[in-house]
């Protein structure tokens, strides 16, 4: 169940989330929504690949798709949406060009890499969950932390910064809460990966599952106003 239903549930929630984000993008046309929608699609693809491996076993194409979308691109592309929301458009465009070029390079490297599924057993891994250890070719796995560094800084940092700004000004409580949920949700897959390295079974898949739930709840909270009654005027000095 941990290696099949949990990632399947993550995938279904991610695709549903992506649908809501794309729907909002079609209504409002914000570029940040386009990147968030793509990021959630990537999240869903990653989860589906994990489910496929758990249910049907090894397939090289599924592994490559998982590593590309689930391990490398997802955080960075979600974070790029936050960059469009918070940074000047000129900088966002420059970073988009770098991200797209980096993503194309990563795609080439992953699809041309040599794989050995037997290497997923060992180094603390049981082989029941997907792991980057299956990549034999040098210089591929080293790409991951650079994308995740960017993704963590922009997605988690951006959401926490937004929550701080709303809190400091005491405005838009729903957005402050939504951003805290988003920042928290975005950290869970990262911690899942960390605990997975520390040989905690199912940590990555559970981190992704609870992470996408919090991200979705955060998005819904941030886009649903709570009304004026949520804010109370402070007593006059």
């Amino acid at each position: 169940m941990l290696n099949t239903l949990v990632p399947l549930a993550s995938s279904v929630i991610s695709f549903t989330f992506a649908y809501f984000v794309f729907k909002r993008y079609l209504e409002r046309k914000g570029t940040y929504l386009l990147f968030w929608g793509l990021g959630m699609l990537f999240y869903g693809i990653g989860g589906f690949c994990e489910f496929y491996y758990g249910a049907f076993g090894w397939k090289a194409l599924v592994f490559r798709l998982w590593y590309l979308f689930g391990a490398i691109l997802v955080a960075a592309w979600l974070g790029q949406g936050t960059v469009y929301l918070l940074a000047k458009e000129k900088w966002a465009k420059v970073l988009t060009v770098i991200l797209v070029l980096g993503s194309l390079y990563a795609t080439y490297r992953i699809f041309s890499a040599q794989l050995d599924s037997g290497l997923m057993i060992g180094s603390g891994h049981t082989g029941r969950e997907l792991s980057g250890h299956a990549i034999v070719t040098d210089g591929v796995r080293v790409l991951t932390p650079f994308f995740n560094l960017y993704g963590t800084f922009t997605l988690v940092g951006g959401a926490a910064y937004s929550a701080f700004i709303f809190w400091r000004k005491r405005v838009l409580l729903h957005r402050a809460l939504g951003n805290i949920l988003i920042a928290t949700g975005a950290t869970l897959p990262a911690f899942g990966g960390l605990f997975s390295r520390l040989q905690v079974p199912g940590a990555l898949y559970l981190g992704e599952f609870f992470g996408v739930i919090l991200l979705f709840l955060g998005f819904l909270r941030a886009t649903t106003p709570m009304g004026e009654t949520a804010l109370a005027a402070a007593p006059a000095d």
Binding site: A71, S123, S131, G132, R141, V142, T144, P145, F146, N148, L149, T152, F153, V156, G157, A160, A163, F164, W167, R168, K169, R170, V171, L173, A176, L177, I180, A183, T184, T187, A190, F191, G193, L194, R197, A230, L231, A232, A233, A234
Partner: protein, 47 residues
Amino acid sequence: MAKVKSHRQYPPLYEKVFPVVLGILGVVIVTLLIITIAVALRLVGAA
């Protein structure tokens, strides 16, 4: 630079919880960045 102070307030529960949660998030973000940099420098294994 003058400190921004709002005359409005969130409900009491949020007024108490927000600074704590934001502080924890700040620590978590710094920790994650350090771990990710350590992975990039190959001090610990990548995914």
